[in-house]
């Protein structure tokens, strides 16, 4: 038996009894960032593949969700800062070892790009749209002429953004639950999956819906594979990580993790998508909504549970 007590009466706000320095804003941002990364990735991908006609929702309509998602996400990040008036210090330097610095600069690049991308499709989506400005008209023409190049930049930035939402957490070895290199790709997969689900939900085109249903099913399988490996990795690691995994395997977060993330957010929509592929008629909103809610809850659980875990000495 070992008991440790702070005899000097330490009770610092948000640090004791366990860390609670990141609140609801961070997981919400991680979700919105992942969703935007997914949407931007698929818009870029199908442009590069010359399939704008077959996948109009992915390339055009759904891309309109990305800019507001990024702006709300950025605002959430701003809300979480405790020394807000100094936020501009992020953009006075680039720190190669700091994931947050990477994220700040990636968002700085991808947010205006996503606005430009959507704006260039405004005329196609909103009939009768007129910029009423010859400079904007010229700029639009230039963007339309360079969509391929833009798409490449978007795809690369989207992957960085998606991976970053996970690496932001995994870079902290002081929080054993986060400290796994699989987290970056797990969050990227989850982000792509929420993006695919949104496209699937918005699409009115039967083939596009079917393709995105299949993509989403594949992403769900990969995600389940990553989650299994994450837990296996923890179990085969040091005591602090075994304890971290135990939060999901009998500990405080067991029910929320298995019921909301695994069953409701992954297995159930996965089964529905298989049934859809087999020819059953399933309202597309059900699996899409499950994936989105599951992805959101997954990030809340990871951020909250991670802060409970720590080193023991």
């Amino acid at each position: 038996m070992k008991e440790e007590l702070f005899v000097s009466g330490r009770n610092i706000p948000n640090i004791d009894p366990h860390l609670n320095i990141w609140h609801w804003q961070i997981p919400l941002y991680l979700f919105l960032g992942g969703l935007a990364a997914g949407l931007i990735f698929f818009a870029g991908l199908y442009t590069i593949l010359n399939k704008e006609k077959e996948f109009p929702t992915a390339v055009k309509l759904a891309s309109f969700i990305a800019p507001p998602a990024l702006v709300i996400g950025l605002f959430m990040l701003f809300l979480d800062l405790k020394h807000k008036m100094y936020f501009w210090q992020l953009y006075t330097t680039f720190r190669i070892e700091s994931p947050m610095s990477w994220g700040a600069w990636t968002l700085m690049a991808i947010t205006p790009l996503s606005f430009i991308w959507s704006a260039s499709y405004l005329k196609e989506v909103v009939p009768g749209w007129d910029w009423k400005n010859k400079w904007l008209d010229r700029f639009e023409a230039w963007v339309i002429g360079h969509r391929k190049q833009l798409a490449w930049i978007q795809v690369v930035l989207a992957v960085i953004l998606g991976v970053y939402t996970g690496i932001l957490l995994s870079a902290f070895n002081a929080r054993p639950l986060w400290n796994t290199s699989i987290l970056g790709f797990l969050f990227l997969t989850s982000g792509l999956s929420t993006g695919a689900a949104t496209i699937m939900w918005m699409s009115k085109n039967h083939t596009e819906r079917k393709v995105f249903g299949r993509i989403d099913f594949l992403l769900i399988v990969i995600e389940l594979f990553f989650i299994t490996h994450m837990l296996m990795g923890f179990q085969a690691s040091t005591e602090v990580q075994i304890q971290a995994a135990s939060l999901f395997l009998g500990g405080d977060f067991t029910v929320s993790f298995w019921v909301f993330v695994i069953v409701l957010g992954l297995v159930f929509p996965g089964v529905l998508e298989v049934l859809e592929i087999r020819g059953y008629r399933i309202p597309v909103a059900i699996p899409a909504l499950c994936i989105l809610i599951g992805g959101l809850i997954f990030r809340f659980i990871m951020v909250e549970a991670g802060q409970v875990t720590r080193y023991l000495y």
């Binding site: 702070f6 640090i15 700040a104 002081a174």
Partner: protein, 177 residues
């Protein structure tokens, strides 16, 4: 130069003088502290062992808080002391997440605050306030690069440990056991 601290867990009585001295010296806001005292009891009666540790920022050689800081507000100054520049800190909390010792906190004014080894005293040739006031003289401070320093001498003579060496931070606060 490499500043380090050694604390004798056999001499420490857990009086918390170091904590109060630090709060006074550094004008630490009420309800917060840059150092604290842990009483660790291991075993079951009658076979129990007690260890008392005065803990603080470990001023790590491989400081994760400095690595993850997006603005460079967390930095290392001469002598290996980890410092925070309040006017560069955005209060994102990354350094707080990254510290295995939970040695950092968010100051009510917004920036992140922590132990500085009383750097303002060091530059004048002094020692940290906590070391200065310790009534049992269980704390040693000095330059590890000088073999004659108080801290080098005691670490050469005694058995010691550091906290969570497996975290890979290479902490520079030593506990004599």
């Amino acid at each position: 130069m490499r500043y380090a601290m050694a604390i004798d867990t056999k001499k420490c009585v857990g009086c918390s003088d170091c904590v109060v001295a630090c709060q006074t010296e550094n004008n630490v806001p009420i309800g917060y502290c840059r150092d604290w005292v842990v009483e660790s009891v291991a075993g079951t009666y009658p076979l129990v062992e007690l260890e008392i540790r005065s803990e603080r920022c470990n001023h790590c050689d491989n400081a994760p808080c400095v690595r993850c800081c997006p603005t460079g507000a967390s930095h290392i100054v001469e002598g290996g002391v980890v410092m925070v520049t309040p006017n560069k800190c955005i209060g994102c909390g990354a350094c707080i997440q990254s510290c295995p010792y939970d040695a950092r906190y968010s100051h009510p004014d917004g920036y992140v605050d922590k132990c500085t080894f009383c750097y303002h005293r060091l530059v004048k040739g002094g020692r940290p306030a906590c070391v200065e006031v310790c009534p049992t003289r269980c704390m040693y401070f000095g330059d590890l690069d000088q073999p004659q320093s108080e801290v080098s001498q005691i670490l050469a003579r005694r058995k010691w440990k550091v906290l969570a060496p497996e975290a890979g931070t290479r902490p520079q606060v030593y506990f004599l056991v």
